[in-house]
């Protein structure tokens, strides 16, 4: 009889636990419902292209992620310039002594 009671208590505890976990999971699912703007932004981030960020800015110029979208746009345009600068000629042998100057100099 005592053993039966113990079994009953264990099964009950398991059931309560399962129900509680289920309701929490359900609550979490409902709380992360995304807005149209959030979805647009996540898609733009996933695409990670100039066009995607531009589209976000046009759709949500005062949106939550507008500043970040603009920064991404600028970064992409500057990356293009850096790529061009990479084609600069190699430094002359005499100038090699000064290599690393930018990394160690007191710059402002």
């Amino acid at each position: 009889m005592k053993r039966l009671k113990l079994y009953y208590a264990a099964v009950r505890a398991l059931l309560i636990g399962a129900l509680a976990t289920g309701s929490i999971a359900h609550a979490q699912e409902s709380s992360i419902e995304l807005s149209a703007e959030d979805r647009f932004w996540l898609e733009a981030k996933a695409a990670d292209t100039t066009e995607a960020y531009q589209s976000y800015l046009e759709a949500y110029p005062v949106g939550r992620f507008a500043s970040e979208a603009f920064r991404m746009l600028v970064e992409r345009s500057r990356v293009g310039n850096v790529a061009l600068e990479d084609e600069w000629p190699e430094p002359a042998a005499g100038a090699l002594a000064a290599a690393g100057a930018l990394a160690t100099a007191d710059l402002y």
Binding site: E58, F70, R78, T104, L107
Partner: protein, 216 residues
Amino acid sequence: MSSMTTCARHRRFLVVLAAALFWVPAQAQQRPKVLTYVKPAGRASLPIDLTVALPPDKVLERIRSNLKRAGLSLVATTTSGVVAATYSGKATPWIDCGWIFSFEQGQRASPKRVGGAAERATIAVRRGDQTLQLERRVTLDGFLAVQVEPVGNNNTRVTGHATYVVTRSLSAENGEDEQRMIDFRSGETGSFEKGTTCLPTGQFERLVIQGLPKAP
């Protein structure tokens, strides 16, 4: 015997101390600081928040006209009651990044003063015992977003802010170059890793509200 050893130890300690005291100022004299930076004195301008004695459509029209006249590019947006524009070019007078003082002619000569937001400047930096000429460039990309909404009797509330993206490029004589970027919004400041701090002067924000009659 023991007092002799202690005395010798004291003497050696004093000799080392004297040498250190002489050595430190000598080193400091040999290597004077070539650059000194002074942060911007003012405060970051605040986001736009103003109530105007005009209806929203008139306010939007005036804001668009102000921005176009200043050379900004309007962003094609379908969101009603919103104006957005971008800017790309010189950083002055839109932001203040303080001043860089360069003592190229020595500490006693008057220093060369370069604006931290200057479009292009050549400054001397030190690496070990070498002094190198660096070309420093600063550009600004700005994004301005403004929203208008009707308030009360024929008045309009104008709110908005600007996003500032500052790019600083440095090129050394040996072809080495470095590009860094910071961003901040109206009311905020931004700092590069090795120094320069920038803040908005409020010129972008003023452009928006130029000529708009403030509601009583």
